[in-house]
């Protein structure tokens, strides 16, 4: 082993690069072999180049309360995460299956006969008490039933390396801009890493997304429907991504005030007058989308938009009301949805989840709270998460009281160790926990972008990978069939 990997401790977790016996896994052999000869100084020099690229590309996010608008980069580690073709094939099938079932479920719930609910597959009361359930979206059709046009299913790996689904993220999953930019940066900073590897490209994401957006345009829109990206504005922490996606697709990035609804048709205010809009890829939450129907104090949305969608004059992407399936208690029923709607066994299992309104399950959970993870059902991005083994007694007491007061409001899950991946820390590689968020696009069919965003928990031992909580990322390679291994 060269110096960078000296003293690397795979530890008790599943390590992405090293097998239990310390040998480099075959699909990493090429990259590890090529980076092995790097001196720490040379590696740091590459990191400096990387930082410059990210800054000049403006690949940054701002924190909401930062007055100076200081821009931060989302640090990309230079050792890529690699997924062999056969492994990816399973992930891809699993995600297509899951997203297909979720689209079917949401379509059935909002414009269908609610078969899964009527047949008791998903409890009716659970749906009706889900925060993301939007009665206002009832009866609004989406062409092809593509309600989750973009989804970002979070996967983690347990101790034996099996992939498990942690969250589905069916509202406005973010992070795909980092997937594309990480790849561009990697090819410039460490071109040598790619030599002799056949890495599946990701740069077709823009056209893929635009194709799906056009595919869900209302039939009346004709051959060249106009799609736009709707952003809350420059102060949103993901604004860079909104602008990035608009640029990748060559379409307008608009704010709510750029759009106006007239006679149930959406128009964009341009320098030459009003231009008709057919599809809106919105990165604004349901609650802020249309002040006539949702929060009346919202200044971000477009008054009358929901009525225009209902009239079939515009398609809102992702569909309104998807949040019902992001409810972490509803998530627990996704495997049943797959069986119900597709008649198949789930390819990617859920993390074992306990539903706390059930007296028996709650009692069991409260009994071993210090060994479980507790999450609020409505939160995302790692907010409100309590990891039992790392929590103080006071935290555990608080979460116990919260569960007892509102058992519907929380779920408990077994702790998943999360696989680890060597990540540059100081002068050498050290193991850090990672997850994987592949992005799936539903148009006329479901496509999964090869790879996705690998997020890294940069703090030692941490299991929280979210960018808002001090996470980093990795370029994620899916190898072509037959590729990988030393050559």
């Amino acid at each position: 082993m060269g110096s960078l990997f000296d003293a690397y401790e795979p530890g008790p977790h599943f390590d992405e690069v090293f097998a239990a016996d310390g040998a480099v896994r075959p699909h990493y052999a090429g990259v590890v072999g090529r980076l092995d000869g790097f001196a720490p100084d040379e590696f740091h020099r590459r990191e400096t180049i990387r930082d410059r690229i990210f800054r000049t590309q403006g690949i940054t996010f701002t924190l909401a309360d930062d007055e100076d608008g200081l821009e931060r980069t989302f640090p990309m580690d230079l050792l890529p995460r690699i997924i062999p073709a056969a492994e990816w094939e399973v992930i891809e099938r699993g995600i297509v299956q899951r997203v297909t079932a979720l689209n079917r479920f949401l379509e059935d719930l909002y414009v269908g006969e609610q078969a899964a609910v009527n047949d008791g597959v998903v409890p009716r009361w659970l749906i009706r008490t889900a925060e993301g359930f939007r009665r206002e979206a009832f009866g609004i059709h989406v062409p092809h039933g593509a309600r989750c046009l973009v989804s970002g299913v979070d996967l983690v790996r347990d101790a034996d390396g099996s992939y498990l689904v942690l969250e589905d993220n069916l509202r406005s999953p973010s992070g795909v801009s980092y997937v594309l930019e990480n790849r561009v940066a990697m090819t410039r900073v460490l071109p040598i890493a790619f030599s002799a590897e056949r890495v599946r490209p990701v740069d077709h994401y823009g056209p893929l997304l635009l194709g799906a957006l056009r595919a869900v345009a209302p039939p009346a829109a004709g051959d060249r429907p106009t799609a736009v990206v709707l952003t809350p504005g420059v102060f949103n922490s993901a604004y860079f991504e909104h602008a990035f996606l608009a640029r990748q697709m060559g379409i307008e990035l608009v704010e709510g005030r750029d759009l106006v609804v007239e006679d149930h048709v959406v128009w964009m205010r341009s320098t030459f007058g009003l231009e008709r809009v057919d599809v809106i890829y919105r990165r604004i939450d349901d609650d802020y989308l249309d002040p006539v129907v949702f929060r009346p104090d919202s200044m971000l949305g477009v008054p009358g938009l929901m009525a225009a969608a209902r009239a079939g004059n515009v398609t809102i992407v992702n569909a309104v009301g998807n949040g019902v399936a992001d409810d972490k208690a509803v998530y627990a029923f996704v495997p049943d949805m797959i069986r119900f709607y597709l008649g198949e066994e789930p390819i990617l299992p859920n993390v074992t989840t306990y539903l706390l309104w059930d007296d028996e399950q709650r009692a069991e959970v409260l009994d071993r709270l210090d060994r479980l993870v507790v999450k609020p059902v409505g939160a995302s991005g790692g907010y409100g998460l309590v990891i039992g083994p790392q929590a103080s007694d006071a935290e555990l007491a608080r979460v116990r009281a919260a569960i007892e007061a509102d058992p519907r409001g929380y779920i408990a899950q077994e702790v998943v160790g999360l696989s680890r991946h060597p990540t540059m820390v100081g002068d050498r590689f050290a193991g850090r926990h990672v997850d994987l968020r592949p992005f799936a696009i539903t148009g006329e069919r479901v496509d999964v972008l090869p790879g996705g965003l690998t997020r890294v928990a940069l703090r030692e031992g941490s299991l929280v990978v979210n960018s808002s909580q001090g996470g980093g990322s990795k370029d994620t390679w899916v190898l072509e069939d037959g590729a990988g291994g030393p050559r």
Binding site: D258, M268, T271, P296
Partner: protein, 337 residues
Amino acid sequence: MLARLAENLFWAGRYVERAEDTARMVDVTYHSLLESPFVAAGPTWGQLLDVLHLRAAWEERAVGEGGGAGGADVDAGAVVRFLVLDRANPGSIAAATARARENVRSVRELVSSELWEAVNDLHLELAGRDLEREVAERPGEVLRLVRDEAMAIYGIASETMPRDAGWRFLALGRLIERAEMTCRLIDVRYGQLDVLRGARGPDVPAADGGFHHWVAVLKSASAFEAYRRRYRASTAPADVIEFLLLADDLPRSVLYALNASMRQLEALTDGRPSRALRLLGRTTSALAYRDVAELLDEDLHEFLEDVQARIQQVAEAVADEFFRHQPPGAMHAVAGG
């Protein structure tokens, strides 16, 4: 393009230019006073406030601070601070750069990151650091910094932006603002000449019409060398005024800015009928064939005010034509019945 973004770019162009030109005017006033120890500073600064249409704001502020209300009693230090740093004064350089930054921030995806950084830097420079002392002791340096950075911003814009509609709105805003502000720059000097005449004592030679003051104006417009090459040793104020007003090849002259605005507007309207273009054309031709000697015989100040009013009409017509799809106002909720 989106009306909102076009408007942001237009105003970004105007505010950067406004900051730059205000810096030039404060600079020329400050330095010409240094060189004329016998001239009362108060009326001279007051005259600058008039030309910048900031007299009312200044007096309001003075009243608010309990100080003596404006008039002839204008304190040089206070007025420089007011014009450079006072964020509450919408006409100050700091306010203009802050608004330029807000506008560029809204169009970040349309401009290069270097352009954003340059505008942001200028804003932070004026807002972040405590400049009070520097402005009091060495205003020239701060004013020069504003000028240099503003020019750098346009250099970056010019070298990094594709020549699309976005660029044209930015350039149009800049040129329209420049035409207006150069009128004011001439007016400041011309007005101060009047002040000088009024205060004329034996120490003010009538012969050169206070030519060294006009040199300061030319320098502040970065046009002194060009003037020398063209007019040689002429010290006639009429020549300087002609140069700054009517030279069709001097980038900072009023006529040049109007002609360049025409070209941008022609590209933007692309043959469609345009009231803004018609108004601009009329203003430009009204200027192009004027005789300066004649203007000096009549009331130059009035003429300059008239040109400014016409330019403002053009700006309003531009807004009407390209940005009007963006209604102002706030949304309110109703429920009942």
